[in-house]
Symmetry: C2
Subunit: 232 residues, 2 copies
């Protein structure tokens, strides 16, 4: 059937390990949109990727009826607007604004310290850990009385943070530092379990035994790089 239609309607260009690509996969699954997935090798980018995302040359790229959209935040909004059933964003402008605020919060106040927890050590790492835990505490408050950030169902903020539910325990395992303690962040712990076992996510997560050595190698590379100037 797809061959008869010529170009399949929706194509996602991604890489298996990208949390940004996962966001798009989850949003498409929530909407029930069928798509062709194309795995990209970022060390040897395909002509298709370079053609569809000439500015950033990155994944994810969503191609819908031959028109390409890049950047996960832009793609998620597009998916929510092009397929309006099962909305990811709430209806009211103020509620929408709050959802967007928390997505931006993740970009600005949570992802950067988490990354530093993975890629630094000693004092710098301890400061990053404290900063990440402070941000996670604000998310804990947001979950008061709610199953998901989106309320009773998964919404934009859940999809946005979702990859962290999977990656934070990997960072904890590699660094030996605790970030999400059941005792201190019980709602967030429950949310992580609920989200990761939800139908939207089931079967989409990259194998932990492939992701863990990948992040461990990144940590080693960053620590080695940070050491170099001292040795000169």
């Amino acid at each position: 059937m797809a061959e008869e239609e010529g170009e399949k309607e929706v194509t996602l260009l991604g890489t298996w390990s990208s949390p940004f690509v996962l966001r798009v996969k989850w949003a498409l699954r929530i909407k029930g949109v069928e798509y062709t997935y194309v795995e990209e090798d970022l060390r040897n980018k395909s002509p298709q990727l370079l053609q569809y995302n000439p500015v950033h040359k990155k994944v994810p790229v969503l191609v819908h009826r031959g028109r390409a959209i890049a950047e996960s935040s832009v793609i998620l909004h597009y998916i929510d607007e092009a397929w309006p059933h099962h909305p990811l964003l709430p209806h009211h402008p103020y509620e929408k604004a709050m959802a967007r605020f928390w997505c931006k919060f993740e970009d600005d106040k949570l992802s950067p310290p988490l990354w530093r927890v993975l890629t630094t050590q000693a004092e710098e790492q301890r400061e990053a850990q404290a900063s990440a835990i402070e941000s996670l505490g604000l998310l804990e408050n947001e979950l008061e009385g709610k199953k998901f950030f989106g309320g009773q169902t998964i919404g934009l903020v859940d999809v946005w943070f979702g990859a962290l539910a999977y990656i934070i325990p990997i960072y904890e395992e590699i660094t030996g530092l605790k970030l999400v303690e059941q005792r201190k962040l019980p709602r967030l712990c429950r949310w992580m379990e609920e989200f990761l076992s939800s139908p939207a996510v089931e079967g989409t997560l990259p194998p932990k035994d492939m992701l863990l050595p990948r992040y461990a190698a990144m940590r080693e590379a960053f620590l080695a790089k940070a050491k170099r100037p001292e040795q000169q």
Copy 2:
């Protein structure tokens, strides 16, 4: 009348020199929304600012019917959704996605090199200049056949980039480096003139004789800071 209503409906907390606050002022003017403007002193933040934006403690903050919204990107979307006449975003999901893409492009690929042009020197500054000019070239292409990024009228992307139309010449004056050359970027030059003289912008720009020494002092402070490790 406003006193009888009790709390005025729309309040904007800002500082005179912030390009992020300018974006919000322009959007409100395009929509014809009346508001109370409150100038904040960021060295001595008001209880109101700390109450309304406890996470970031930054301006702009828009308060609408007692509910606060922070982050200029979130505020602009809110304004466009709460006052839907004179839309800032186009109607079609794909066109919307393109507008959001270019706003994110400014955040990721234009603002950072422009800032480095202002705050560094020598090789680092020359690289930043080349990078900024490359990004500006992509914007030049976007303006083909259009008066504004939004088409015949000012849209989200115009409001997003708008402050740069004013700030780039100030950076050029301080650093002695050319960024927007009429010969190479004629559409962007015309857009800068058109935008800055548009009714949305008229009378909102901070006085150049106050902004220029402010940015010049920032440059000096960054250069002095960069020198310090070498002196130790």
